[in-house]
Symmetry: C2
Subunit: 331 residues, 2 copies
């Protein structure tokens, strides 16, 4: 793999778990990186650790405009409209990306402001149940999938956009993530299944367990602990990501409800057999274990495809990677 | 806490994850312990490690009858009827316990054979997704809840039964478990919520994720991995425990389905708000974290009650402990 270098400084807006961890990792590379955080406590905590961090959004954007930085929007969804307007006002020529877990609603905001040729969507599939600067850590993204969208590649993109796309890919790779290209709608359908539905089911399980009172909570062991872990996530973050992906989540939720309705019917029938659900679930889990993530040896289980942004055939390579869930390397 | 010693040898029938781990732990104490395993490979593997293990059920039961051992039935549910008949034939005076995760159906089998005055039900809340002798390990039960049933205490139990009850409690405590008394029906209602429903939801999530194809499986990260972990459990074990707890599982499953139906209605309404589910789920998870298991310092979060088997007031102490999910110490 050719090692690319990000061609410009990186300016991160929002230094929570994702933005803060990205700042930490990029600061260990040769890339110039600085950030803004709205909460003064987070900003001053980061500054105290020696990072180049400001609590002044306008000044930060003006600096980004001056040095033509790549701007990373790392705030929760609800802050994005205001932030995009500020970008248009104070850094109108900077390319930018984001890390929001739903891409459709972000793309609508970007498109409605005429900013698609400056934007490449991103979504690092990393996180913990904690949030904020204090939860940020080095190496959060190592081996994790980082989705980069490419819808604008079909819309006669500029040379600058191709360079921006390459820089966003390079930034994700430089912190150890595996870059997986996907279009906005395809991404949102996938994450509804593997990221948003898990939250809905975890909340549900937590409530039903709690309804059992003190004895049930006292007996709860590994299966309940793991099954409810993400219910400990800040509720406003969960709400934001689930609600902004409503249409795709409804599809996934309805599939789950159908499976549970069928299981109920089977269990209450005279045969009371749950084998259909349990056998299919087991096969699915085994398939997941084989196909996703990294092996204990740290070797990625994901196939890899190589491409050059804008070169002949790159779109079909992107589509192929999207279909395979493959990671890409750029040359 | 007064340290009791088990008053007799322990004979374990079935050396899988639970029975094997119990054998390993008891072998490190002064208690005489031996076992039987139906599969010759498991039996010879255990024997090769120096454990006192046989592949001959009748001989093992005759030995238990001779030295009046406490017999532990550590096989999956489907093997129990045959095993109980063998017990009646070859070790008709031995007290026994079991480790099956559903207590109602076991108690029916025991009662229908007139064995209630020789039986104390048990259920250690410990396990992994793996099974068999090769999955067994030392210290599997340390800090885990181990439910001991006490329904027969209301049925004019013999002195021998009270001694048996004390021995079963002592055995669980001697391997580091926290003994939580509960009646059969109460136990089954609780585990439907915190052990069986988690399996049903994990299977469901695994299938819906898998339906998303290669991209979804490639993007799946922590929330999906944790939420589907127990779907990797041997399907026949999951089926046995869920199906034998049908009535209680249906109650828990219907509560979950109702929550999901309501969430669907809220999400598809114009307000598209999931706050009701998400806020309640978050509160439930926080309550669980506060009330169950052990702290990072290894200090149990469970309240403790002290009692003496058969002493005045012990039944009300047992009932109180059951209601609180409290652990008990015997004196």
């Amino acid at each position: 793999m050719t090692i690319h270098k990000i061609s410009r400084p990186v300016c991160i807006l929002g230094l929570g778990l994702i933005g803060g961890s990205l700042l930490r990792d990029l600061a260990t590379t040769t890339t110039t990186v600085y950030g803004f955080n709205r909460s003064p406590s987070g900003a001053s905590a980061a500054a105290k650790e020696g990072f180049d961090v400001s609590g002044d959004l306008v000044a930060t954007l003006q600096r980004a405009a001056t040095d033509d930085a790549l701007i990373v929007l790392a705030t929760p969804m609800p802050a994005l409209p205001t932030l995009l307007d500020a970008l248009n006002e104070h850094a109108p020529n900077c390319g930018f990306t984001d890390v929001v877990s739903v891409k459709g609603e972000v793309y609508d905001l970007v498109r409605s402001r005429g900013m698609t040729d400056r934007y490449v969507g991103g979504h690092p599939m990393a996180g913990t149940a904690d949030s904020g600067w204090t939860a940020s850590q080095n190496d959060l993204f190592r081996g994790a999938a980082w989705v980069i969208t490419f819808d604008h590649a079909y819309e006669d993109p500029s040379e600058d956009w191709l360079k921006l796309w390459l820089d966003v890919v390079t930034m994700a790779a430089s912190v150890g993530a595996e870059v997986i290209p996907a279009r906005v709608a395809t991404h949102d359908e996938a994450v509804a299944r593997i990221s948003h539905l898990p939250h809905i089911l975890a909340e549900t399980l937590a409530i039903v367990g709690d309804n059992g009172g003190a004895l049930a909570l006292s007996l709860a062991a590994g299966s309940f602990r793991d099954g409810t872990r993400v219910a400990g996530t800040n509720p406003s973050l969960v709400q934001a990501m689930c609600e902004t992906n409503r249409d795709a989540l409804l599809v996934a939720l309805d599939e789950a409800r159908k499976l549970l309705d069928d299981a109920r019917a089977h269990l209450s029938s005279p045969e009371k057999s749950l084998s259909e659900l349990i056998d299919a679930g087991y096969r699915s889990r085994i398939r997941y274990e084989a196909r996703s993530g990294t092996s204990p040896l740290g070797i990625s289980a994901r196939p890899v495809l190589r491409l050059h942004p804008g070169a002949a055939g790159w779109l079909s390579t992107l589509e192929q990677a999207e279909g395979l869930g493959a990671r890409i390397e750029v040359f």
